[in-house]
């Protein structure tokens, strides 16, 4: 069977992996990129995708999502979650281990990989660090890595036992396994519902101090300094966290970090302004304006490597409760790109630009996870996203591919969205319409 040939013509091609930002054509043969030139004359059999006026970028990779599969398929499953990914312009996602059963052994890793074979985006499994996410015994990190897990994390259940964490970092360094940490000192954040500060005082909601994140980052950076190895810090939320990561990088530690769109765009004020809307309840919590500004600074100066959604889907019934009773989490796969494009197009952040955005949403996640993609270089997998910077986009959770509806951005009018998502040379989303891979 001859390979299907596609030619994406006339687009603004942005590839942060080789500092490329120019108008060019891209040739795809089968599942590979085979040419990238200013002008390509495609064979007659080629399908032409006219990208003039659009940005053509390496497929977006969301390195932090919860797909709830297996175990909580009423919230999301691998099918609906990857449909959401494709709709949002993502060609790959990394799925956290807090499923039921927990992804803490090779067969559960293989389950995710097998389910993902027919899904709308690539799915990279993240294995648990500790068995059952209990923070007591190390999980089989090496066997899971062999089975295809790209990283390891007890996301949401930080390991409070410092000795175990020490040993995990030591062990992981020996097999070059990436450890992803959700930084929260659980005793300090106990009972907390939102960021501790003026707004929590006003609302009478129990606070989660910035120090609960910062104390844990301090511990893990100290451990990493001793053990060596690679550590990635999920969803930074405070100014103090950014500062610690900045210093650790300057010292030469192999540490990377991510931030979510909601922490970049919202503050604890949103809890008050929404009248205790449970869609503002998220962990780590929405922080102060000072913290928010520091996150942008960290993003611009390279302290923060990546942007990830921390897509945490919940069934609408789960969130339709009193604030204390609702679960934490914001679903972000279908809003991440439009929110960030809108921020970029609005010009509110002068240093924000398309190459930087694509670096944070594609090239950096690929590099950190050690997975293919994040580049348009010849021979790379044909994973691409086409972006329309002119598109008017309204956040309408009722129209989502995800089973969830939990977003604090509902009704927002935005500018910019993904137009095409292409995985392995196959169009998985075209102008909002999904097709099978």
């Amino acid at each position: 069977m001859s390979k299907i040939i596609k030619c994406i013509t006339g687009g603004r091609v942005i590839d942060p992996s080789c500092n490329l930002d120019k108008n060019a054509d891209i040739l795809i043969e089968g599942d590979k990129i085979t040419a990238l030139e200013e002008k390509i004359t495609p064979p007659e059999s080629a399908e032409i995708i006219d990208a003039s006026g659009y940005a053509v970028v390496p497929g977006l990779i969301d390195m932090h999502v919860h797909l709830r599969d297996p175990g909580q398929e009423y919230k999301e499953d691998i099918n609906s979650g990857t449909r959401a990914a494709a709709a949002g312009g993502f060609t790959a996602v990394a799925a956290m281990a807090n499923t039921d059963p927990v992804c803490d052994n090779p067969s559960n890793v293989r389950y995710v990989i097998e389910q993902a074979a027919k899904a709308h985006s690539r799915v990279y499994p993240i294995g648990a660090l500790s068995k059952g996410l209990e923070g007591k015994e190390m999980a089989e990190i090496g066997r899971m890595k062999k089975a295809g897990a790209v990283a390891f994390s007890d996301d949401g259940c930080p390991i409070m036992d410092s000795q175990l964490m020490y040993h995990i970092l030591q062990y992981a360094s020996g097999i070059d396994a990436l450890v992803i940490v959700h930084e929260e000192e659980k005793y300090l954040s106990r009972g907390g519902m939102m960021h501790e500060g003026a707004v929590s005082s006003l609302l009478g909601l129990r606070g989660i101090p910035a120090a609960s994140e910062e104390a844990m980052i301090a511990r893990d950076l100290l451990l990493l300094k001793t053990t060596g190895g690679r550590m990635h810090i999920a969803h930074l939320s405070t100014a103090g966290s950014v500062e610690q990561v900045r210093r650790a990088k300057a010292e030469g530690l192999q540490v990377t970090a991510e931030v979510t769109p909601h922490h970049l765009l919202l503050t604890d004020r949103a809890v008050k302004n929404s009248g205790y809307n449970t869609n503002t309840k998220v962990n780590p919590p929405l922080r102060s304006e000072h913290d928010r500004q520091s996150l942008w600074e960290g993003l611009f100066d390279g302290t923060i490597d990546a942007i990830a959604s921390d897509h945490a889907p919940h069934h609408p019934d789960d969130k339709d409760l009193e604030y204390d009773f609702a679960p934490f989490g914001i679903a972000g796969l279908e809003t991440t790109l439009p929110l960030l494009l809108d921020e970029l197009i609005s010009g509110r952040n002068k240093k924000f630009n398309m190459p930087l955005l694509i670096e944070k949403l594609s090239t950096a996640p690929a590099r950190i996870l050690g997975v293919p993609g994040g580049t348009l270089q010849i021979g790379s997998p044909a994973d691409l996203t086409l972006i329309d910077l002119q598109k008017d986009f309204i956040v309408k959770p009722d129209h989502w591919q995800s089973k969830s509806r939990n977003t604090p951005f509902s009704g927002r009018q935005l500018k910019g969205a993904a137009l095409y998502t292409i995985v392995d040379g196959i169009v998985t989303m075209k102008e909002g319409v999904l097709s099978d891979r």
Partner: protein, 309 residues
């Protein structure tokens, strides 16, 4: 006839001084009714109200129920178990069911801050917040304002010291908003573990000693200290609290000569304040309770807008 042009009464933060004034003025007429031998007016005849208490309450519940009876409203009281916690019926479903029986006003006490806002968004009936978590207890705030206003003839430029567990107190928050809006100066004091952070946002001064707060105060309000706070490690013992932060005659010497002593109840005698203060000449603690009925009658009247005939 003036009414409150709002569906719900959720907190004093969102009330204007004019609205608070209207409630205080109306409470005065209601207070007259309570003083009568026959304490019943037909004003809310044919109107139905639900009292939904997810937390134990003696005085607030009795006060609302009596206010409803004095106004001739029909009411039903339900003691909710926090059903959401045990995966039973949700709050929304519970109230929608009672609403389907014809209730048009829901008075709710709930352990979660913001629960009244959540409910108000989800039902057509009026919601009166009878205390939501650590957020607000606006009818308590109103009755405290009313009691002081009756005693002093004004609220503006009075210095009010609120002392004790500010952090967990919905009474403190409602009083701070109400008093500030009516032109009073508010200061608070308590151990740092019982103070919420960044109190500047309320536009008040905070102290860590009772003495600093009560200097020249016209009103001193002590808050209830819950035993659970000791168990969660916020202070070492009730006796240490009493010694360091309890109100007593000696400390009150710093306040103005005709200082009023208040407490939202129930009192831990000898902890938040000594018995001689609670029962002494400056104490208006029982008057607060009487005011409570009057203020709640006024609120029901203003919110339900009298009879719709």
């Amino acid at each position: 006839m003036q009414t409150l042009r709002r569906k719900d009464f959720l907190g004093l933060e969102e009330m204007s001084a004019e609205e608070i004034n209207l409630i205080l003025e109306t409470s005065r007429s209601m207070h007259e009714i309570i003083k009568r031998k026959i304490k019943k007016v037909p004003t809310l005849r044919g109107r139905s109200v639900l009292n939904l208490f997810y937390e134990p309450s003696t005085r607030t519940k009795a006060s609302f129920e009596l206010a409803q009876k004095y106004m001739s409203a029909d009411s039903v009281s339900v003691a909710g178990s926090s059903s959401s916690l045990v995966k039973g019926e949700t709050l929304k479903d519970t109230v929608r069911n009672v609403e389907a029986m014809g209730v048009e006003c829901v008075i709710m006490r709930h352990p979660v801050s913001g629960a009244a806002h959540y409910l108000a968004r989800n039902i057509e009936s009026s919601v009166i917040n009878a205390g939501d978590g650590m957020h607000e207890h606006p009818t308590q705030g109103l009755l405290d304002l009313y009691t002081v206003w009756e005693k002093k003839g004004r609220l503006e430029e009075l210095k009010v010291a609120i002392v004790g567990d500010i952090r967990h107190s919905r009474v403190a928050r409602s009083n701070i908003w109400g008093l500030k809006k009516m032109g009073a100066e508010v200061v608070v004091a308590g151990p740092p573990t019982l103070m919420p952070p960044d109190l500047d946002i309320f536009g008040i001064k905070a102290f860590h000693t009772i003495e600093d707060a009560v200097i020249n105060a016209d009103v001193v309000m002590a808050l209830r200290l819950q035993k659970e706070r000791q168990e969660s490690g916020l202070f070492p013992s009730l006796r240490e609290y009493a010694e360091l932060y309890g109100l007593n005659r000696e400390r009150l010497k710093l306040a103005s000569d005709d200082v009023l002593i208040m407490h939202p109840g129930p009192i831990n005698r000898g902890v938040e304040m000594t018995s001689d203060l609670a029962d002494g000449p400056g104490s208006i603690i029982l008057e607060q309770v009487t005011s409570g009925v009057a203020v709640r009658m006024a609120l029901l009247y203003l919110l339900l807008g009298g009879t719709k005939e």
